[in-house]
């Protein structure tokens, strides 16, 4: 996928948007902004704009998908038609089916599902504007929305991507880097234990490069986790001070 016209790394080692190889894009999070949802979060990460809402635990339909021993965490990742350069046809495509699945799996690892047998916890992730790294941004927002909904969890879920561009392992690819780079490594973790709940990779990397990318994404995820905690405190500490709900 190399494109000779675009140079992704400058002479001084910085990237096309001026970042260092291990530097994150700006991230902003807000918790609890939707009226009807049981929990919600909004996240901006670089040019990504992502809304997550949680409904549930509620009765599982279709019924045959009920699990008698635990709740099913059912995430749906969806991209708005206007979120990308060329209009995306509405509705699920194969990519979003797969991403919904890996995000559901990652969130299930954190939620104490055994507390709500036979129910479903619906998590809707709407990508309003996409700028690379949407699955991890969506996962990070979704876990905030679950916390906002008061769903008991072992931990928040947080992640980051790393990748390779022009032979250099870098953190948090932007759109151009994702399009013309050589590899993409999304990683999701439980920050308290460091366990890995989401891990995908595609591209071309040596073992050493992949391990470097994993370390980079892991360390960044820990940093983003601190932002998550702050975003939750911003809402709930304030409520507590004001007498709370």
């Amino acid at each position: 996928m190399e494109n000779k016209d675009i140079k992704l790394i400058n002479e001084d080692g910085t990237r096309i948007d001026g970042r260092r190889p291990d530097e994150l894009r700006p991230i902003r999070m807000k918790v609890g902004l939707l009226e009807r949802a049981d929990g919600s979060a909004y996240l901006e990460w670089g040019g990504n704009k992502i809304l997550a809402a949680v409904y549930g635990p509620r009765e599982m339909y279709p019924k045959h998908q009920q699990d008698p021993a635990r709740a099913v965490v059912r995430a749906r990742y969806s991209m708005a038609p206007f979120s990308v350069d060329e209009r995306k046809r509405p509705g699920p495509d194969r990519r979003s089916v797969e991403l919904s699945m890996v995000i559901s799996n990652a969130l299930s690892a954190a939620v104490l599902t055994e507390e709500f047998p036979r129910t479903v916890i619906d998590v809707f992730i709407e990508v309003l504007q996409a700028d690379a790294g949407t699955r991890i941004a969506g996962l990070t927002a979704a876990s905030l929305a679950l916390a906002d909904a008061g769903i008991p969890m072992r931990d928040l879920v947080v992640g980051c991507t790393a990748g390779k561009i022009e032979g250099v392992v870098v953190l948090d690819l932007n759109k151009e880097e994702d399009n013309y780079g050589e590899a993409d490594v999304p990683l999701g973790i439980l920050p308290r234990t460091g366990e890995i709940v989401l891990f995908q990779m595609d591209g071309m990397m040596t073992e050493e490069e992949l391990c470097t990318a994993l370390d980079m994404a892991y360390n960044a995820a820990m940093e983003i986790h601190r932002m998550q905690v702050k975003a939750l405190k911003d809402v709930y500490m304030k409520e507590a001070e004001e007498g709370g709900e």
């Binding site: 045959h64 699945m101 460091g194 990779m201 071309m204 073992e207």
Partner: protein, 262 residues
């Protein structure tokens, strides 16, 4: 529903059996932790297809068929052929597989197999152009799961790769010159592990898969390159486990490539 219940009771009994064997460092079929079941590859069994291969991995059977037809390139890659991968969990393969459009398991399977082949550059797509921007060869990889006894990822990947090495582009049929062998440059191999308790096992059987907490597939090619990773299921891995799996995948992938694909 009743099938599900029976299976979950069965899996409780098997769980104890599998786990007690693992606690002694053994697998119930006597394999080592990093050992594949017996692999058999038969190529060319569907002559009507442009390429085909039946892979038997233990009792799992996957048939891959390749069709190649002329068509339009993608606008952003006018000078490259196109490849697409589809997987069908055919109802003959298991009482739990139902007819109908591919569900999320089939979509994940097809996309993970696709990524390994695509990212390795296995097919020289640049050599599949008839007229740049107008007409290129489209390679359709269709995976038919015929008998499900665990580890569809590796069986399907092997079947797809073997079938592609068997493929002849039918140019004469379309009046586009002489037939030619599909240009293949790499041989990607996928290796799938599951985690049961603290044990990490290569090539899970169906029983092992049924009780696994987490799964990971790593696809590697010549020169120790890694092309695709997919972590599956809702369990977790530690960073240390992931590093070990990546390293093993490179070593075992090379052995499979030498023994079965060269």
């Amino acid at each position: 529903m009743s099938t599900k219940l029976t299976e979950s009771i069965m899996s409780e009994i098997k769980r104890e059996y599998i786990e007690s064997a693992l606690s002694r460092g053994e697998r119930i079929d006597g394999r080592g932790m990093d050992e594949f079941r017996e692999i058999k590859i038969e190529k060319g069994i569907i002559p009507r297809a442009e390429g085909s291969a039946m892979v038997t991995l233990g009792n799992t059977k996957v048939l891959a068929g390749i069709k190649v037809e002329p068509g339009e390139p993608f606008p952003d890659t006018p000078d490259r052929g196109v490849m697409t991968t589809n997987a069908e969990l055919v109802p003959v393969a298991s009482p739990t597989f139902e007819p109908g459009p591919p569900g999320e398991d089939a979509v994940e399977l097809a996309r993970v197999v696709d990524r390994g082949i695509r990212e390795s550059g296995m097919i020289d797509l640049g050599a599949l152009v008839v007229e740049p921007g107008e007409k290129v060869w489209i390679v359709f990889i269709d995976l038919y799961i015929l008998d499900y006894d665990g580890n569809l990822f590796d069986a399907s990947s092997l079947a797809a790769v073997a079938a592609l090495t068997d493929t002849v582009v039918p140019a004469e049929r379309w009046d586009l010159g002489e037939d030619f062998k599909l240009p293949v440059t790499k041989l990607p191999v996928s290796t799938t592990f599951v985690k049961i308790g603290k044990n990490i096992l290569l090539d899970p059987s169906r029983d092992e898969e049924a009780i696994a907490q987490a799964r990971i597939t790593v696809t590697t090619t010549e020169g120790g390159m890694i092309n695709a990773v997919q972590k599956g299921l809702s369990g977790t891995f530690t960073m240390d486990e992931v590093r070990k799996v990546i390293n093993k995948s490179i070593v075992i992938g090379e052995q499979v490539r030498e023994r079965y694909l060269r």
